[in-house]
């Protein structure tokens, strides 16, 4: 029997008759948690979030309570809260649903968070292409202001805070929190070096700043509702709460599905929830957590030890969908973007497609990334268009190895991990492709590609 979805964040999303207006939100119990929160001690809310164990839903999976704890409260500088709504990791489309269909949930989560960390001002950094999303949020903020859920002296608590909706302009690097901060300051989004620029100490305008993902901030509302302890009972220890898996690519029913962490396996997600593959197709590979996570091959065996010492021996379909299991198999749950590829996929072209993305999005600040990612794009492109060279696979491996770990931000890894994992797992296909291309070159036959 198929596992049932447990919708907490997406409880009302797509329900018939549910609208994104404040009346509907309040009718469904909205803003009750904010009312509760303003009667609590801010530190008590932080303690609940810490106890909940909730990990960041943007990609890195860092515990939110810990992030908040790092806030520099001694400097006397104002504290800022920034919601990262730049949703741009390829394969991810969950935050869009919250913003368009349930914006008040985000606003409530943000105001509780702002109150808990004593933020002076909050921002929603939303990707520029969400034109309507930004308008929806602005309208929702005005609705909330009219009811005193934000603005001056919120619900008589003496605490005041406003939210500014700030639109990006099409740059992936703005999803990196220090790049986002630079962008919010009106500059090119060049990520900052850490240390010393940890946002919790030196963030926006060099003031202590918390940057959290949309889904993470929504979780705060539910943590206040059910308590950190109860929240921590959802999922497994270290992997608490639900996660929204965004499934795209070659499945019959792509979409977004919310489950407690580790409640289902990758196989159940693909076959039971997403209706499996198209008729006559077989699974080739899965990218489990957005395009920068390492690819998993359908016929791999994953063996090793989990953090708690349990040994595992899994096929691709057996991998539990949570933070730790996906990292144990050498990949990551990242932003929850699961990209499924069936046997019709040309794996070399798929990598060329990914490399094209990273080459376009490198901010250009660090030389290994600026030059290296372009170079990888060039090499995989020629592997597809018929001009592959014998040494190309080795060359790619070498370039990726020299980018990883040598850049200011994690983009260097985000761009090299796909190359390294594709080559490690599909080496034969890369070699075969290079040979086939060379032969085709000799015959003068035109090359047709579908993914690049």
């Amino acid at each position: 029997m198929a596992v049932e979805e447990t919708r907490i964040i997406f409880k009302h999303i797509d329900r018939q008759g549910y609208t994104n207006g404040i009346d509907c939100y309040e009718r469904h119990g909205g803003y009750a948690e904010l009312k509760k929160a303003v009667g609590m001690e801010p530190d008590a809310i932080c303690a609940e979030v810490m106890e909940s164990g909730v990990r960041g839903r943007g990609g890195a999976g860092f515990p939110a309570g810990m992030k908040w704890k790092f806030l520099d409260r001694k400097s006397g500088k104002p504290i800022y809260l920034v919601c990262n709504a730049d949703e741009s990791e390829p394969g991810t489309f969950k935050d869009r649903q919250i913003i368009y269909k349930d914006p008040h949930q985000l606003i409530e989560g943000m105001m509780i968070t702002a109150f808990a960390i004593r933020a002076k001002l909050a921002f929603i950094y939303i990707r520029g292409e969400f034109f309507e999303g930004a308008r929806i949020l602005e309208r929702a903020i005005e609705e909330a202001r009219a009811k005193n859920y934000l603005g001056d002296n919120i619900l008589g608590s003496g605490y005041s805070c406003d939210i500014i909706v700030h639109r990006g302009a099409g740059a992936y690097i703005c999803g990196e929190e220090t790049g986002l901060i630079e962008s919010l300051e009106g500059k090119r989004p060049y990520p900052r070096i850490k240390p010393p620029y940890f946002p919790a100490a030196l963030g926006l305008y060099q003031c202590p700043t918390i940057v959290n993902n949309v889904e993470t901030l929504c979780n705060v509302k539910h943590i206040v509702n059910m308590s950190g302890k109860v929240f921590a009972e959802i999922g497994t220890p270290g992997n608490t709460g639900t996660r929204i898996w965004c499934v795209s690519g070659h499945v019959r029913k792509p979409g977004y599905y919310e489950f407690p962490c580790a409640a289902l396996t990758l196989g159940e997600l693909i076959y039971d929830i997403c209706g499996g593959l198209l008729p006559g197709r077989s699974l080739k590979a899965v990218i489990p957590g957005g395009s920068s996570s390492k690819i998993l091959r359908a016929d791999e065996r994953f063996k090793g030890k989990l953090r708690d010492g349990t040994e595992f021996d899994w096929g691709i379909n057996d991998i539990p969908m949570d933070f730790d299991s996906l990292s144990a198999v050498g990949s990551m749950s990242g932003s929850g973007g699961v990209i499924v590829m069936d046997d019709t996929t040309d794996i070399v072209e798929a990598l060329a497609n990914i490399n094209y993305f990273y080459a376009h999005e490198s901010c250009g600040q660090c030389t290994p990334c600026r030059e290296g990612v372009q170079w990888m794009k060039k090499v995989t492109y020629r592997m597809c268009n018929g001009a592959a060279r014998e040494e190309d696979v080795e060359l790619l491996r070498s370039i990726a190895g020299q980018i990883e770990g040598r850049t200011i931000c994690a983009f260097g890894e985000a761009a090299s991990w796909p190359v390294q994992s594709f080559l490690a797992k599909f080496n034969d296909e890369f070699v075969a492709k290079a040979k086939a291309q060379a032969a085709r070159n000799a015959s003068g036959e035109a090359v047709e590609t579908t993914l690049i």
């Binding site: 639109r167 795209s248 690519g249 990209i339």
Partner: protein, 165 residues
């Protein structure tokens, strides 16, 4: 700088909301581009002056972010997503279909100035691949045939352009 009075008033309301003026660079550029369709050198100098910056500070922002255009495009701006999930769903064919229907290349504008085509990166709607944006509107599951129909709809004026000019 020639802008509508309501745009000027939006700009004047927006700047003081930020703790530092410079933060208003992106929102100002968005407002100008949404009205004029692109960012001219005059606009760059005007924004710099307004925010007490050097023109280079604004110029480097305009040239970095893909959404800002430094030359006018067609009446409609078509943005086809080319990233992996959309490509797996046939985005390259979709893009080709737009090119054929409009008789222009990627990053070009059709001869009749009806539309410009861009092949852009992920729109965060991967479950509905291939996705296409026309101005501010998202279209989902756009195959080759749907792309041709969208061009026809633009020609017939059935799609409302974001800007009236």
């Amino acid at each position: 700088m020639n802008l509508k009075p309501e745009t000027f008033s939006k700009i004047d309301q927006l700047i003081p909301r930020y703790p530092e003026k410079r933060s208003a660079v992106l929102p100002l550029l968005h407002l100008i581009q949404e009205e004029r369709g692109w960012i001219s050198n005059e606009a760059i100098e005007w924004v710099a002056d307004k925010l007490e910056l050097q023109p280079i500070n604004v110029y480097e922002v305009v040239t970095f972010y893909p959404m800002f255009k430094q030359k006018p495009g067609g009446r409609y701006a078509i943005k086809v997503c080319r990233t992996l999930s959309c490509a797996l769903g046939g985005a390259y064919k979709t893009c080709k279909s737009f090119q054929e229907a409009l008789g222009c290349e990627v990053d070009g504008t059709s001869e009749d100035a009806l539309a410009s085509i861009e092949f852009v990166e992920c729109h965060a709607n991967c479950g509905k691949a291939p996705v296409v944006m026309i101005d501010e509107q998202m279209y989902e599951g756009v195959d080759e045939n749907a792309a041709r129909k969208l061009v026809e709809a633009m020609r017939a004026g059935e799609i409302k352009p974001a800007r009236e000019d």
